[in-house]
Each structure stands twice: as C-alpha cells, then as structure tokens.
Symmetry: C2
Subunit: 79 residues, 2 copies
C-alpha cells in the first residue's frame, strides 16, 4: 500500500518560502498571482495490506515525526 502525506503550514503561520516564490513569480511577469504557500509531500511505501492499520500507522508517523503539529497540519491519502 502507498501513502501520500501532505504537510502544510497552518493558516496564520508565516510562510517566508511561499512569499519568496510569490515575489519570484511576480518578477517573472505572472501578475495574477495572489498568496503562495509551500508545503511538503511525503510518499511512503507500506508493507501493510490492511487499510485501517496502514492509516493508523501513517497517522502515528505524522504525529511523531513528519509534521510539527504546533505549526503544521497534515492530510493522509492512501492508495
């Protein structure tokens, strides 16, 4: 089973990297660009056929390592 984890900054948390990308896009002439925010994707291959167990394991990984839940939120997609 494959899991894809999306880790993004919570709304309200300052995102200087996103701002830098936004400015760079503006400098390149993309005038229609508003707010830009950057996040992470983590693709994990799991040797766990049971969907519920896999989801629980990935949730635990997010809480323990993948996301800093003080400032980041995460979503899990299993396929």
């Amino acid at each position: 089973m494959k899991a894809r984890v999306f880790v993004t900054l919570k709304s309200g948390v300052l995102d200087p990297q996103g701002k830098a990308i936004g400015h760079a896009l503006d400098n390149l002439g993309f005038r229609a660009v508003g707010e830009v925010r950057q996040g992470k994707i983590i693709d994990i291959e799991l040797a766990e056929p049971n969907r519920e167990k896999a989801a629980a394991a990935v949730k635990s990984m997010c809480e323990k390592l993948l996301a800093n839940t003080v400032i980041e939120k995460y979503e899990i997609e299993l396929k």
Copy 2:
C-alpha cells in the same frame, strides 16, 4: 481560482531526504516502511477566473520556476 502544484523527484533520481525520513521512521519502530520519497506542494491563489488560462499560466510557472524539469516532475490540480 486556487492551484496546487505537486513537485516530486523523477523516479531514478536519488532522494537523500526521503531516505533520511525512512531511516528515522525505522528507528522509531515503523518496520513496515519501504521506500520514502519527499516532494513539494505549492499552493497558489490566482486572480484568473478562466480555467484554461489558469492552467496554462501555472504550467508556465512550473516550467520557468517551480520545478527543475531535469530531475523533477510536476502535477497541477485546479480547484
């Protein structure tokens, strides 16, 4: 309109950051973890109501700035 861009390393390109995450998960006791790969998400707010124009603009952004197409691939999601 909002666009979400997924930038990930092409398969075959070495991903040391993903490997580091994989090792860390193994050390934390997650034994079912196979390969781990890391990528980026870029969320862009666009003041462009036309869906096709927005898609074309984001594709151009990817080619020019957001992805290094030698080693990275990108997917665009509009919503």
